[in-house]
Subunit: 238 residues, 2 copies
């Protein structure tokens, strides 16, 4: 598989509604220490330098995210793509918009805006090393229980669980095949699930606590504290 | 079951080593905006006003946590208890130190230092309402995968999962029975698991994102931002 970033594409899913953040706007437009979550995630993709092509999936009808994307100095080919009515449809739209000669595809959530470059590097390296599908994951802090309504039905051994993050990385042919084969998307919450349902092995790579998803107001408070601290550190270092 | 707080005991588990925080001290001694995690959790228990008895399980040989506990103005009976070599043994030590006429026991992690009073109230109300065991839980943000080494073996439907928190609440007789019956504690990460292994139903109550466990340096950064913001708000309100 090529070492050439021009053969790597990133799909950034920025079609989330942001309901749980309660700001009345698409999540990727929410500002964190003055910068939108979309810009922060683009900064992460750019800093990683792994990809030659970025496609950002936005809510249909959006103009504000498109304006940010058009103005963003990514240094690579970048374009906005209209999303679909479900996450898999949105990813499929992004996939269709990548050049045909891309052989590694990363799927990344705009809400994981502070994902550090090493996570991108580990995921791409694992795909280059032969894995068809790679997910970054970290240990789970809380005990996780399976419930049926308000009754606990099981407690899986926490040592066997990982909280998975993005970017998730795929051999392009595998991701195309998974999206073509799977049509029932009822409970699909990540792209690796589509690959798993084909019976294709999915490999774990090291994630990072910084790759957390900004979902709640508390998550946003944490993201702001991190960005402000990094900015203060950068000024001190000058 | 009595409505009397004198019949409710809280065991605070403060025996954690804090390795992942990297401060070289027991986690409950780590300071967050000037106050130890132990004091912050005691503040939460006191604010909830649900319990007449607090027993704090500390690492054997500890003197610093004991000094904090001795000086703490809880308004109720409070004492430090030496922990054991595992979490269940520590809880058992706390349980043995509660008065015999306590009929509801809450088990709480000192590391969930910012747990709001409503979580205590919901858990106690559910036990009073007849539940033998109650865990507060919230929706899971990340997709959770089951792994075997670096290979993903399953992705449970995220909608059926809850991240569970503390305080966990128990009918005292049920918790005593569970601790007496279960001896193999290899993968026990919470007290409800002991009750589940008896076949006794465990009930879910509403948790709160604020009841997160301080495990990593990022968690501590978030806790500090929350405490400082609450303090600023309290000054504004004066």
């Amino acid at each position: 598989m090529s070492e050439d970033p021009r053969r790597v594409g990133v799909i950034i899913v920025a079609a989330g509604s942001g309901v749980r953040l309660g700001r009345g706007m698409p999540k990727a437009l929410v500002r964190c220490a003055g910068r939108t979550l979309l810009e922060l995630s683009l900064d992460g993709v750019r800093a990683s330098a792994v990809a030659g092509h970025i496609r950002v999936v936005v809510p249909p009808g959006d103009t504000e995210l498109r304006a940010i994307i058009d103005a963003y100095p990514s240094g690579v080919t970048i374009a906005a793509v209209d999303g679909g009515s479900s996450r898999p449809e949105s990813v499929r739209a992004g996939l269709a918009a990548l050049p045909a000669d891309v052989d590694i595809v990363l799927v990344h959530d705009a809400a994981r805006a502070l994902t550090p470059p090493h996570v991108f590097h580990s995921v791409v390296a694992a795909v280059r090393g032969g894995a068809a599908a790679v997910v970054p994951g970290i240990a789970v802090s809380d005990t996780i229980k399976v419930v049926d309504g308000n009754t606990v039905t099981a407690t899986p051994d926490r040592a066997t669980l990982r909280a998975v993050q993005t970017p998730q990385g795929f051999d392009a042919a595998t991701l195309h095949a998974a999206h073509a084969a799977v049509r029932d998307h009822g409970s699909v919450t990540d792209d690796a699930m589509l690959v798993e349902s084909l019976g294709t092995p999915v490999t774990l790579a090291p994630g990072d606590p910084l790759a957390f998803k900004v979902t709640t107001p508390l998550d946003l408070m944490l993201a702001e504290a991190i960005v402000l601290q990094a900015r203060a550190q950068a000024q001190e270092d000058q």
